[in-house]
Symmetry: D2
Subunit: 358 residues, 4 copies
């Protein structure tokens, strides 16, 4: 057994099997994958990584399972490995390479870490556990850890959640984690915290602009999937710095020096995907990598999988809590799309855009 110091949970206990999973190159790679991608350009102290978050998720999963002995123990280790497949800068590059979940599976199937898993579990059975409600629901160990951790590291005041109360009030009914009546407030505060972290941190415009710039650099560099999938941030940044293409070097240098593109357009008015695509093409033809368009998918706050047991009856959390219900309404509130340009072409772009967008 090993104890790891953690500012969020105090001490995290790792049993021998967990230690052996952690002591693999695949898991250690997570130390070099920033939890919040480029958010540190807006919140300088947000330098925490998927490594600590994975340990924290494991810790909470272990505690929830401690109150629910019928939960499959494998799900607790799945919680530890759930983020193994993240690309450099976490979600930033998923638009290019697809979601990280498949890559997590690939690592477990083909990496040294898979050999450790195999000692106890069949790989295919284990992979199914990555979807276990313990780590993949609306109220799960993953979300509990990252909200509190992200708030701690950014210094933002929205992530205080009574984790202990929540953990004590989650009951496994064979299929899902059901929130007990005494946990409703804590669960609600978790979802509220998430809804406030969303615009404040996760969608901070500085982080968005830097991300679009990075995405462009990676696209221009043309890094194939089979290379990116095992890279860490050192690999990626070094590769971009050494690129043969001047535009790529210029983009990564601008990110490194925080000389970010400026907003030319930033709006919640949605002209539709087709119109935006066309604008994108026009801008690219005219300005190349000097102008970037960010047209993100709409955020989802469906929260449809949080169930509560009130007076013996199973209900959706949103039925019981008007605040959670209003989160659905909130869904689109913070959505924006934008056009960003290098400082010296902003004016030209403004004119150019004037012709296209009403």
């Amino acid at each position: 057994m090993k104890l790891v110091h953690d500012p969020i949970h105090g001490h995290i206990e790792l049993d021998d099997f967990a230690v052996r999973l952690v002591d693999t190159p695949e898991f250690q790679r997570l130390r070099r994958i920033t939890q919040l991608g480029l958010a540190f350009l807006a919140y300088p102290s947000a330098r925490h990584t998927r490594f600590e978050h994975s340990l924290g998720t494991f810790h909470l999963a272990r505690k929830i399972a401690g109150y629910n002995p019928e939960v499959d123990e494998g799900a607790v280790y799945a919680a530890l490995l759930h983020d193994l497949g993240h690309y450099p800068f976490s979600h930033t590059l998923e638009g290019i390479y697809g979601r990280h979940e498949e890559n997590t599976k690939w690592f477990i199937r083909h990496g040294e870490i898979g050999d450790v898993v195999r000692e106890r579990y069949s790989i295919e059975e284990f992979l199914k556990l990555l979807k276990h409600p313990l780590v993949s629901g609306d109220i799960d160990a993953d979300r509990m850890d990252y909200l509190v951790r992200d708030a701690y590291y950014t210094g933002v005041a929205y992530g205080l959640v009574d984790l202990d109360r929540l953990v004590r009030n989650l009951a496994w009914d064979g299929e899902r984690l059901v929130i007990g009546e005494k946990g409703v407030m804590a669960a609600q505060s978790l979802l509220l915290a998430r809804s406030m972290m969303y615009p404040t941190v996760y969608q901070h415009h500085v982080s968005k602009i830097a991300s679009v710039m990075l995405v462009e650099a990676v696209k221009l560099e043309g890094i194939p999937f089979k290379e990116i999938r095992t890279m860490d941030e050192v690999d990626l940044v070094a590769r971009l710095r050494r690129s043969e293409r001047a535009e790529v070097r210029e983009l990564i240098e601008a990110i490194d020096s925080r000389r970010l593109y400026k907003r030319v357009l930033y709006t919640d008015k949605d002209p539709g995907e087709k119109a935006v695509d066309e604008l994108k093409r026009e801008l690219e033809a005219e300005f190349g990598h000097l102008v970037l368009v960010d047209y993100p998918p709409k955020p989802k706050f469906e929260e449809k999988n949080a169930f509560v047991l009130v007076g013996g009856e199973l209900k959706r959390l949103s039925e019981v809590s008007p605040l959670v219900r209003s989160l659905v309404e909130l869904k689109d509130t913070h959505w924006r799309w934008g056009v960003y340009a290098r400082a010296d072409v902003v004016e030209r772009v403004e004119k150019f855009i004037g012709l296209f967008v009403p």
Copy 2:
């Protein structure tokens, strides 16, 4: 200048005039008025008093005024004195004696503290400042202090608010404190915190039952207004313990020993005031002080006085924030009325009530 240690704000600076206001018997009396009344029977550590809260409110008011030099300086001292008139156990006895605000004015008019006020202000001008938005709005120094403080002392996780960000983003427009765009999230989180503290702490059923028992004891003792208005908690409790009426002594002893009445009825179905009044009379006739009815007013979360400046336009916070809007809906969610009885008569009361309430 004097520095006071405070766990919420670090150090509170008191200028000489503030020191002289604090150094009066009327202000020192607040050390013996518990901030949350009998809530310590549910949250043992909630022993903080109106004294610390008043200093904290002053501190925040001073900071807000620091960013808004046009705010009348008297309002900052009014913030210090705004809770002067509280009766023992804060809001608990307001149902009998009326709201504390009038008593605050009475103290300032007639107490030693009024002599200090008079050195700088006309009393009547000063009394008007007790309604100043700095201390009497939806987003004000009073509320900012008590939410964070109550959360700190109860240990409940719902009161974390980014006070610094909020304070920096309140602008005085000559009439009210307007929230700047960068303060919207912090303001919203303040109101959400309040809405979660409400059922969890402020309306905790243990605290409610103990309060109804205290109210009954005070009524039976028949303490006149001119006596209660200057009492502190020592005076009141000692008086009830020494009462000539056995029922009064029994009630205060039960509170002291936390042998509280049990819930016979606790429901959100509202039969209307008339029906409840009749039941009350019937129960009193049959059981006397052994059965108590608590039929509280519906809580208000109108939040209609919080204004935001968004893109140069003044809007209500509730227009801008769907979450705040949903707080209005929430209004009735946590309302309950109840019938409570001494443990040994519960069964009899249940039968008795069966005849009256459908």
Copy 3:
């Protein structure tokens, strides 16, 4: 099982037996015994009571015993009751009535709480457990709780101790709790925290002066031991306010209004007990209750009972830690005795004292 919210430990679990001990008038009385006596006159927020501290001590004792199953379970309940006998304002009146430990025993022998104890333990066996190292050593659950708690409530920054690390590294060797090598730093920081809390909080001069005044009032009132032993703070303060002796009423009113005596003499030069006693008599003859002398015993930081297991060898913590060793040296550093007088006689007293003290 019952959960109590606590800002220091999160949730405190009370098993059924603990609940029944807590639900007695003797234990509930602790809610009205301030943990730090009159320290709230210096640190307004220090309003916590022996009640919360007793629950916290129980919680830590339970955790330590959890890692050491050979510890007598009775000692964990003894931890809960160890402070039962405190007089109003905790240690303040021990100079008159003797240490509270005897009174704790008396309550357990004669109170309703004793009946609960008897269901599981022989009273005399149980009373011995009040001296168990779990609650009565240099590194024990009592001290761990009060240091962290007192720091939290005063807002002073010296009480942060890694309780979790300490608790995990205490091993019962059949006779004492021995600190493991990995707990040395945490144990050292506990003793350092104590040494810094001592002058800053526990011996704060404001608290000292108020205490001497209260002691004088109680002496003048002549409250017999058999009365004080069951009083809470309401009883005591109410009694002093109603005293037939004007001096007593004057003293309690001065404490209530924080109109404290002023320092005439405050020195670390010790003329010896005899000389001080003589001065005391002279001053009393001349000034009565208007001048008070405080000649406290020297503080002890012997720390001789903290043992560490280093490399398989049992050593005193002070052997291993030069910092702890230097705490012994510190012993007298903060000791002071003083003469305090009502503001209006200060000058006269200064002259008078000039004749006696060189």
Copy 4:
């Protein structure tokens, strides 16, 4: 003016000049220099960088200067830039390349940041301010920030210091920052915190072993000073990964995967530099990079530059505080030197060493 969120200080205000200093490639490079080097291998969450620490130091320097208007304003900006010259992984490589201070000067003389400095200051005058007591004393803004910050990020409980009290009680006497009487406890607790962070975090053996391995890799790679001085951690790690020497690639891979060398010898017995050097040579001849010797300089806790004003007299803090005095004694307590070897050669090395070391 710009506000930066910071978990330690809340919001850090940057004036326009500070913003322009921060917005240079040289300052932004600090985002990629970990504050605690390889300590994250022991404390996974210690991922904070010199960037945040520099902002925090500036913030505290600004506050101290706010209470002391005679302090040269340039010293506040010097505080911002004091760590500019750190090499990758902070102090780790100073044994090879010398202390970072000279490199800080070089950046200011030759970098884009120097151009900003020159707008207000003569470079040579400004460079002298890097030694200003505000940022280079025993009690200075640098140390205040890093202790509290390092504790926050590691989650270790020894770094709580009452910064506000300390800041308020530092008085500039024209030559140094003198601690006022009311700041003595806070200053003492800062030095104590440092002495506890030292063995627990700064000299953690895991961090030491990884550091020796990195030093060896850098030596083998033979990176010239003029290259390392401008590198960030991406540059360095990428360079080592791409090395033509297999030993270098092996070492960095071992660090990346946390497959660290094992302790063969770890002792506080000092055979003297000469003997150790000889051993080093013998080991190198026999085992090459597979065995590494770490023989660090003895730590210094002289604390001779902390002055206190007590009763109008200037004294050394160590005269006033026996605890601080005992820190000098502590000096050697935690010193150790060690021999570390790759797991597979440990046994052979143990035999080999047996011949040399008694």
